[in-house]
Amino acid sequence: MATVSEKTEAPAILAKIKPAPWKDAPLVENRRSFHWVTEKICGIVESKTPTWWWWCFITALSIASFTGMGLVYLVSTGVGVWGNNNPVNWGWAIVNFVFWIGIGHAGTLISAILCLLKQKWRTSINRASEAMTVFAVLCAGIFPLFHVGRVWFAWWLFPIPNANAIWPQFRSPLEWDVFAVSTYATVSILFWYMGMIPDLAVIRDRAKETWRKYFYGILSMGWRNANNHWRNFEMAYLLLAGLSTPLVLSVHTIVSFDFAVANLPGWHTTIFPPYFVAGAIFSGFGMVLTLLLPVRAMYGLHDLITQKHIDNICKITLATGSMVGYAYSMEFFIAWYGANPYEGFAFINRAFGNYWWSYWIMVSCNVICPQLFWFKKIRENTPLVWIISIFVNIGMWFERFVIANTTLSRDFLPSSWGYYSPTVVDIFTFFGTFGFFSVLFLLFLRFLPLMPMAEVKSVMPQADPHGGKH
């Protein structure tokens, strides 16, 4: 019956309140043509290397050398050069690992989950975010790889026959993590690469220099824009998006199992998987803003990455930041409600114990800071959005620090309590990964198509074969 009355009443109400005509902001501003998009994106790769690029590249390379030095020193001396001790056996290694892995999650969310949800605004930011994912996972991999101590035996983690005739132990969440992270890295690279093939072909067809013809020719696999190719490509793209969605949710779930499966207070909770996934997406979107706002300014991409895009990213950051805040408070509630004295102590200790300062840095950066995104004025202030995104990154690093260190440094027996401080090698190695990440990202900007041209064109009005009339 409700439908009948709605039908009769609706026009009368509409006449009375006179709703304003709703118009979606265009995804590509200033009525650009297809050719403009091609020139813009290919132009980044084809033009002369800008001076700022060289300055950034040299700086990034010198920062990356800190990781190089740290790792050489570690391998030649031993894992004791890090600040890890007993009881804090994990230290910064796990913190940095989870931090970088989490950053990657936004890229997969944009490329996969938003694709399945038909969020058309994702098209202009998905390539760069996927690149971010791949490079962040590479940075993450460094830490557990070298934390094993004798890195030349790290291949024992994989199910490959070795001289000791011992196999990996599949009951351990750390072994699940090996599978989760290596699958995540591989599938992210496949997805990133496959999406790039048509764009690489466009650059190939425009190439003048021989090296360019060969480089892009080989990478584009002989793609020829044929509808038969597009048909299989689109299906494969959709399937990879469908596969990456459960994958990205599982990766941080399994990372959280590294903690949650252990019987330690503060870790042994069922909230960890969703809480970790929300936190990962939160930190990743923070990093997307940190990277894309400067890229947008340097290459003048304001027509492609519009205020609407920034608004949407800010809103997702706000939503996931609030979820993380909810998880923090829920952890406290359950610690009290569960009536386990060790669990209760672990949480009081987090907020007011030996690492209280890190807890409050975490809360202010992750819970309070993103709340500013409720305001349109702040979302439209690009420099401020960029600064907030940096705070999100800092806050999420501290979240992992709080989780890993407060629990390990204060476990069941006061006799085994300890305190962890990083050494200069820890700091150098972590600091350098930002350089390593930037080196890879700058190379990506220089040599690979920054945006999926075909996808951006597909969401422009000209792409509609029915001329706007369905």
């Binding site: 132990q169 599949f170 599938v187 002989g222 020829r224 990879l240 075909a454």
Partner: protein, 179 residues
């Protein structure tokens, strides 16, 4: 020396090629193709293409991955070197589920990518269409229909005038050079 590959006609908009493709299909041509800068929504149906076969490769990959995961866990922790850890069974489909799960996705993703390559017959770097001068623009903002010489209905004059009637611009014969 060269041989003819086909006749091309370009169109300026997605709408034009969408309509033209339907007419080429109705005329009964079989060996023809549309070259477009974007995947045009509904063009598959206009060209009379069936649904893509990529999902079969994905499914095959996924099933292989799942059982590979089961096999390695069973073989390594239960058959070849039984290991007691935490009083858990040597093999169970429950505790190593993350391993099966990840390998399912990994193999399915490889199946998808290589399935796409296989169905598109890629990599192939020497296609005659690359010899066509106007081909580069099909990645940019031109839409092109090519009717191949191989088609049983192909007739140089008739096909050419047919494409012109459809509104095709710069109707050209594509030649494939042979040494």
């Amino acid at each position: 020396m060269d041989i003819k590959y086909g006749i091309s006609a370009t169109f300026n908009s997605a709408k034009d090629i969408y309509i033209a493709a339907g007419k080429v299909r109705d005329k009964g041509y079989n060996n023809w193709e549309c070259y477009t800068p974007i995947p045009i929504h509904g063009l598959d149906g206009q060209m009379g293409y069936p649904r893509s076969k990529v999902p079969c490769f994905t499914l095959a990959g996924g099933i292989t991955g799942f059982f590979t995961g089961m096999l390695i866990v069973w073989y390594m922790n239960s058959f070849d070197y039984p290991l007691i850890v935490g009083g858990k069974p040597y093999f169970s489909p429950i505790f190593p589920f993350p391993v099966f799960y990840e390998l399912t996705i990994l193999f399915a993703a490889f199946g998808t990518l290589f399935g796409m390559f296989f169905l598109n017959r890629l990599p192939r770097h020497n296609h005659p269409i690359f010899e066509h001068k106007g081909f580069g623009r099909t990645g940019d903002d031109r839409f092109m229909i090519v009717i191949e010489v191989e088609d049983p209905q192909f007739d140089e004059q008739e096909t050419e005038s047919f494409l012109k009637d459809l509104g095709g611009k710069s109707v050209n014969i594509i030649r494939e050079p042979i040494d």
